[in-house]
Structure formats: structure tokens, C-alpha cells
Point group: none
Chain length 134, copies 4
Amino acid sequence: MVELTTLEARAARALAAVADAAAAKGLAVAITVVDPAGILQAFHRMDGALSGPVEVSQKKARTAALFGSDTADFGTGASPGGEIYSIEHTNGGLITFGGGVVLRTGARLAGGLGVAGASVAADEQLARVGAAAF
Amino acid sequence: MVELTTLEARAARALAAVADAAAAKGLAVAITVVDPAGILQAFHRMDGALSGPVEVSQKKARTAALFGSDTADFGTGASPGGEIYSIEHTNGGLITFGGGVVLRTGARLAGGLGVAGASVAADEQLARVGAAAF
Amino acid sequence: MVELTTLEARAARALAAVADAAAAKGLAVAITVVDPAGILQAFHRMDGALSGPVEVSQKKARTAALFGSDTADFGTGASPGGEIYSIEHTNGGLITFGGGVVLRTGARLAGGLGVAGASVAADEQLARVGAAAF
Amino acid sequence: MVELTTLEARAARALAAVADAAAAKGLAVAITVVDPAGILQAFHRMDGALSGPVEVSQKKARTAALFGSDTADFGTGASPGGEIYSIEHTNGGLITFGGGVVLRTGARLAGGLGVAGASVAADEQLARVGAAAF
């Protein structure tokens, strides 16, 4: 099972897990995995997903990877009145609501995964499915 | 009348309907129709419309098409305190107030139409005229 | 005929003339008219035109308007070895081949018209049809 | 086997075919599939591929889809001295060498596929493997 430990194989496995979970709920989402530098690792758009969520899923994944923080947590500070408000305009634009989660190998940052296209709660839940499968 | 069912003909018909309705009220607006990917399909600027609304009408149309949501509805969540605040910075910049409406062919997303240059309420009402004529 | 002398009406007439001439040849193109500042005045995409020419037609129209020069002439200087080579990277990107023509009211600059989606020669010929109808 | 005819399934099949062919040659590449509007459909980066080719593969796929032309053919005109030189700066930047191919469903444009990370000749050959599997 050496191959399944590579980033390539783990990213593919995470995408498939999210797509399966979304299909089971009748949802159509865009799913992104990025590396620790926020650069695209793998992406999958389900049939029926709209065009807008494509970039949103990427920015969720990037936000999680670039700051080592799930987007829901990140958004607590990066919103009007929050301690790091305005940081969301850096790095090409970050996302401050749920659906982006940190990917880890043990304790080490391995990247980020973002889901967009359904409700925030559903995107968030699907992203956690992906992180668990990673 | 097959030709009138094409996207090209329907977009032209929608632009004309909005321009006529605006002229009847003494308003001068910019009107955009985009395809489901948010790419420009048709555009018309009335004499007397300022330069700024040109891009605003395009971003309204894009927002509606990319997320399958009228901009007034979209903006409820994508404003400070809203559930998807920060999404408005994706996809080249989105609009969170009225004047952008979804265009459909039956239940299927066919694009978006945006109107800008008058008041938000008037832009919104004119956009609905365009969607009805599409 | 006062109305036909407005920029709005003249732009619409130019778009229609280009679309009719293109349809007569079995071509599907994107057609843009901009004002003297290079800001969008009117746009029409024919059914069957690809997505890429949408922006190309806009940059042709902008190039013509912003420098008061048809793009074919402009390109003679703005190409490797030309006297103003590198200028094509200004103003958000300019086009250095045919298909963009200057629009005038008498001797005064009134804007630019760009056609893209067919061959350079056909785009150029269609753009001249549009300028004549303007 | 209806599901295999969807864009989602066909894109996944094309990515897998390219990755298998590349692995068989000991190559590590980035592979992108976009829809006809140039928007991301699916992406896969193989272990060992560098970061730069990620965007290159996307621009190859976009170029092919947006202009309905394989990038090797497109580049013949869009290079210094070519008939459409300067077009490569439109649409966010286009690629003028091999490795991007048009995807079709029958005669209809279905998108573009881009491969980057190996030699131009190898990228091009791998892209053709992907188009055949699509």
C-alpha cells in the first residue's frame, strides 16, 4: 500500500470520498485539494455544479493550507470586528466561512481541501469527509 | 420562430425590453447578458448612462449566472455578518445588491442579466423586465 | 432621424450590420463597440461563436479607440522589430492584427469597433462593414 | 454505462489515461481538463511534478477550449511574425506550444485538455492520449 501514502494518491482518494458523499445526498459540488503552498494538487467538479463554486472551492482550500486553519475558524477573526480583519484580502483573496479544512500527515501540514456548491453546512461536512479519507 | 429560441436572439430581445422600459421612465442604464459561465453574451449602454455602471451591470449578470442566484438574494449572505461573507471577492468580484437576475430555459440555468445606472430598486425592476422577455 | 445620430443607436446599427454580413457568409463572430475611452458601448455574440473571441473583439475595439488607429496599422509598429514594440502590453493588453477599426463622427474620434472569431481577413472585412454602418 | 458519457466521468477517465501513460514512461506531469468556457473541470498533479507546470497545464487546456484549436496549431499564428501575434495576451494568457488539445463530443466542442511538466513533445503526445480516452 506504499502508493496510497503519496500525496497524489491521497488527494485522489479524498476527492472520491467527497464526491461519493455528495452524490449520496443529491448534491453537486466542486472539490479542490492544494499542497502546503496553496498550489493546486487535484480538482473535481461534479456534473450539475455551477461555475462560481469552482473558484470558491479553490480559495477555501488555499485559505486552509496557507494559514493552517479551517476556514470556519479563520473567519472568526477575519471578519468585520475580528482581530485579523483585512487579512482576507491577502494572497489573492481568502474565504472566511466553512468548507475549507486543513490536511495533515500526522502533525505536519500536508495541504488544504475545499468544497463549494452546496450550503455552507453541507460544504463543511463534506470537506471533513474528505479530510478523513485523505 | 425557431430563431427566437437561440441564446443570441433571446439575449437581444431581453436587452431591447429593458432599454424600452428604462426609456419610458426617463432612465439611462447599462444592460448585460452573460452565459452560464459568466462570459459576455450581449451588452447595451443607453445614451446618458455613466461609465461606472458598465462594469457594475456586468458583475451583476456574472454573479447571477455563476451562482444561480439573483444578486439581491445573494447579497443577504455575502455582506458583513452574512453566512458567506467574503465570497464577493471571488470570481473577479461579485455584486451583493439588486439588479442582477438569473436567466433560465425551463428549469435549466441559461445565464444572467444585470442592469446598473439607476437606483437599486429601479435596476432590479428593469432586470426582471429583461428576464421576463428573455 | 435624430435618434439615429446618437451613439447608442449608431452602435446598435453597426452591430446589426456586422452580424448580418457574418451570417450571410456562414460565420459566427463576437462584435464589440467601445467609446473613445475604450469603455464598452455595445456587444453582440452570435450563436456558434467560441468563448475566446469575446475578449479578443473587445481588445481590438479598445486598441482602435485608445490610439485612434485601426489594429492592422497599429500592429505594424507594435510588433517585434517595430518602432513602438512593447506598447501592446499597456492599457490591459492591446491587439496588433486586423479586426479593430476606428469609429468617427466626421473627423472626430467616436470610438472603436472590433470583430473576432473568423479569420483575420474576414474579421477585418466585417469590422469595416460595421464602421461604414456606424 | 450512461454515467460514463457525462462530462464529469469523461474528464476523470481522460485524467487517468494520461497519468497511466505518463507513469509508464517515468514522467510526472500536471493534467487539466476545462469546459468550453475554459473553466476548470478536473485536475490531477502527479507526484514529482513541479509547481510551475500546474498553471501551464491549465493555460494549455484553456487555450484549446477558448479557441477550439490545439495549442501547437494556435501557436503557429500567435508567435512573433505570426498572423495573430498578441492574441496570446488575451483571456488571462494563452499558450502557443504543444500540449493542449481540443476535446469534442462528436463535432461539438466539449472543452480542452492540457498537459505540462515533461518535454513539449511528450506533453503533446500525452494530451492526445487524454483526448482519445475522453
